[in-house]
Amino acid sequence: MANLKEVRNRIVSVTSTQQITSAMKMVSAAKLRRAQDAIVQMRPYAEKLKEILGNLSGSVDASEGGAYSVERETKKILIVLITSNRGLAGAFNTNVLKSARELIAGKYAAQFAAGNVSFLTIGKKATDYITKNKLSLYSAHNELFDKLTFDNVSPVAQRIMDAFSNKEFDVVELAYNKFQNAAVQIPTLEQYLPVVRSEESSAKKGSSIDYIFEPDKATIVSELIPKSLKIQMYKALLDSHAAEHGARMTAMNKATDNARDLIKELKLSYNKARQAAITNEILEIVGGAEALNG
């Protein structure tokens, strides 16, 4: 029979855990809303940029992004891992790391065996994972999530782009969680560099509007490609940020539910034990009285 005091203590500790998880759930819900707002804010910019690039691709090949679209023999790989700084978000970080692991075990197995796969990590969880497994860490940018603005993300994206154009790397891949809705995150792998020619932008060719181009199309394209690359990086980070809070919210919601079930079970066994004790006492008293009456 469970000890009464033991069960009571467990009930108290589970209750306080439940309070923490439900508070974390609330915090994540608030942060999720803000993260979603940031994505919504960014969307018109990204769409307009895409539209202008589409307009340009009418006559200039928009995929000719100069230094950023050169396809070289894939020898050196950089994988950008975007995770969160904190845990307790369910399978959020594991999913990204798993997809990266699959990447180096499959597609880039040869390069990995030759030691030519490096990692750039954004988020403490990825950095910890890379250092723990003694993989080659190119650089870590855990501080980005403290203040996620375009101005902060842009230098990191620029650094990756420079490394690519200096032939430090031949392929750059992004691994992150795409935000679908609060409950669903899709672990995504995306080739960042060289620029992948998007089919739809080349499909809607020849816009009818007769634009004046200042100074000329080629210059504008070479200005726009880096910009859209930075936006792509920023978008991946915003997505991951929103997905993180979504994942944490779901995980904490489940934890709160589990705690509630556990408390229910514990209360039941507490009450059973209490009743058994009372019954015992009554039996003793009755037994004692019988003996006296004898």
């Binding site: 910019y45 940029l49 202008i52 375009f150 004046i212 181009f213 200042e214 504008i220 200005e223």
Partner: protein, 78 residues
């Protein structure tokens, strides 16, 4: 004409304006009402806007691109 200045983080400005001056890559230039369709790259500098009430606004940008179409000006700033 209608002017929108947007950055990846937020919308900086949206209103009807009289004139604006932009820091083009080959030098600064102005845009008035009914300008022909134009796409231009911008460098780091200041955007000067005069709105309908003749009030002046100045925005600092780190480069960007501008599109003028049908009396609507959209600046993608950085």
């Amino acid at each position: 004409m209608h002017l929108e200045i947007i950055t990846p983080d937020k919308k900086l400005f949206e209103d009807e304006v009289m004139t604006l001056t932009l820091p083009g890559i080959d030098g600064s230039f102005g845009i008035l009402d009914n300008h022909a369709p134009l796409i231009s790259a911008l460098k780091k500098g200041k955007i000067k806007v005069t709105d309908k009430l003749s009030a002046r606004h100045i925005f600092e940008i780190n480069g960007g691109v501008v599109e003028v179409l049908n009396n609507k000006v959209i600046v993608l700033a950085e």
